[in-house]
């Protein structure tokens, strides 16, 4: 029996000739990522060594990455003190893949890792963040874990007792209509699978639409695979992966492209033709409450957000800038834009997008998780409605349980900001 991509990766990382779904393995970790919650990881890591005569020691500091993104710059003395503690730990332990709060190399972890070439096809990546699934876009097996599990990884260099997940194969064909793209595809798929449809499973993406999709788009679909409960989303590495890594991420040296075997075993196969797909909207308060834009157009929005690890990349900002060019954000609507990384922010600045956003009346914020998880900026008022390109619309997600969040693509967000209401970009927008 052949293996899926993830089975191949786990076999290699566990020093086994082959593995199959259901096997329990202990894969070696190639990259272990944390953000501000490294503060808790550090505590748990030290706790492991309590009562032993052994000094706490990270198994391989070159494989640990810490990126500040959730609360940047710090919103409170508590966060600032956590960040200070992490900085000191990073220095003491020689962690080089550390990205502080900076306007040159900072940003959101799920953009900073790929753009710096830290993510390689065939690798095992764990992160103390559920959207670690993003890195499957480059053919890695990447999944979210808790802080204590990360402490264990720091100590041992492997993840204990991992059950090899079953895989759902998704074949995507057809050409997107104008202003329809990867975000609409993944929202559509989550609606089909439901929020738990891929729980404990991997989603492996195939088909001509995926082959023709940029890495930026692949990051969108893998990022949100977790919203169907998936352990990981993964796009088998190909020519585009190679192009991205060598041209955009500065990777030198050998890149191994891992593909599934032809006779790999899948739990189910789903075929999607995107050629007739309309813009998709995830309605409050679950990400699987997905509707065609036709069902929700005209709903007034108080805040429009473009950004996040899902849709804050250069192509997203370019599309939004084109739509907003020479237009104004509607009165009564606030528009917040936060690029996924400082690198992207600088590129958008050079291309003039940032100036266009500001001329239109949008507020451009520093790279970071920002309003997506309601921590320190862009909170909603009671009864307010947000339309956002982020990845979650759970009750209270943008900081207020008495508000509503709709999720959409950058094209829908941009055109809706002009109208002040949910608007279909495929209808009469140049």
């Amino acid at each position: 029996m052949g293996m899926t991509v993830v089975e191949k990766i786990l076999a290699r990382a566990s020093d086994l000739p082959s593995v199959k779904a259901g096997d329990v393995v202990e894969p070696k970790v190639d990259l272990a990522m944390s953000h501000e919650n490294a503060a808790l990881v550090i505590n748990q890591f030290i706790e492991i060594y309590q009562g032993t005569s052994i000094q706490p020691k990270i198994w391989d500091p070159s494989k640990v990455s810490i990126i500040f993104d959730h609360r940047v710059p710090a919103e409170s003395p508590k966060t600032a003190s956590n960040q200070k503690k992490i900085r000191e730990f990073v220095a003491t332990n020689g962690i080089s893949k550390f990205h502080d709060i900076r306007g040159d190399v900072g940003g959101i972890c799920h953009q900073v890792l790929p753009e710096n070439g830290y993510v390689r096809p065939g690798s095992v990546i764990v992160g103390t963040d559920s959207h670690t699934t993003s890195h499957g876009a480059l053919g890695a097996f990447a999944f979210g874990i808790g802080a204590t599990e990360m402490a264990s990884v720091w100590a041992l260099g492997s993840v204990l007792n991992v059950e090899v997940p079953t895989t759902i194969k998704v074949n995507v064909s057809g050409k997107f209509k104008k202003f329809v793209g990867p975000k609409d595809l993944i929202l559509h798929l989550i609606g089909k699978l439901t929020a738990e449809g891929a729980n404990f499973r991997v989603i492996e993406f195939h088909g001509p639409t995926i082959r023709n999709m940029s890495t930026s788009g692949r990051l969108v679909i893998c990022n949100m695979s977790v919203e169907a409960g998936a352990t990981s989303g993964i796009v088998p590495a190909d020519k585009e992966t190679f192009r991205y890594l060598t041209r955009e991420a500065g990777v030198k040296g050998k890149i191994v492209l891992v593909s599934p075997d032809k006779d790999a075993s899948y739990e189910q196969t789903i075929d999607i033709d995107v050629s007739k797909l309309d813009p998709q909207i995830a309605c409050p308060h679950t990400v699987d409450n997905v509707k065609s834009i036709k069902a929700v157009k005209g709903i007034k929005v108080n805040q429009v957000v473009i950004g996040s690890c899902t849709n804050g990349r250069l192509d997203d900002l370019e599309l939004a800038a084109k739509i907003l060019r020479g237009k104004k954000v509607a009165r009564g609507t606030r528009m917040l834009i936060f690029p996924a990384s400082a690198r992207i922010y600088n590129q958008a600045l050079a291309k003039g997008y940032i100036g266009e956003f500001m001329k239109a009346g949008a507020v451009v914020m520093n790279s970071g998780c920002g309003p997506c998880l309601g921590i320190h900026e862009g909170a909603l008022g009671d009864g307010e409605v947000a339309l956002s390109t982020t990845n979650r619309n759970f009750k209270g997600r943008m900081g207020n349980p008495n508000s509503e969040v709709y999720l959409c693509s950058p094209a829908v967000a941009a055109v809706s900001a002009i109208k002040g209401a949910i608007t279909d970009p495929t209808k009469g927008v140049k």
Binding site: I145, E163, I375, K395
Partner: protein, 166 residues
Amino acid sequence: MGQVIYKFGDDISTDIIYPGRYMATVLPTETPQFAFADIKELNDRMKAKQVPPGSVIIGRKNFGCGSSREQAVSTLRGYDLIVVASNFARIFLQNSINLGLQTVTCPEIDTNVGDELEVTSTEVINKTTGRRFPVIPLPKARQTIVEAGGLIAYTRKRVMAGKSSV
């Protein structure tokens, strides 16, 4: 024996269990105060110590979905609650195993608030109604971590074993 203190529906996210705005608080000794912070009535009862250890909260499908934040587990662990649900989201379940929060996968669970439940390794017995519901046991690989007393203890053993074999 524990009393059902609250019943939830499907897809209870970690944002509901532990809202994102409290994520700067990480210590398990400090997180319990923010459990279900946006469900004021429940949060008030918990903070007022009206919820004895062993009390049960009921979820349906996909309990603990969303973020990997471990505070969502430590906040409930702080009250020694038992969570009985039809099923759990992967990361929440793993975090519960790692930290020793008792999670019980019970697909057919049917109770009312106030019912007294007895949880065994194979079933949940509703002492109030007399009904019994089968429990899906944890896979062996995860049970091993529970039996070791959580992931810290389990990893500690491994670290010490590694040291002695060198």
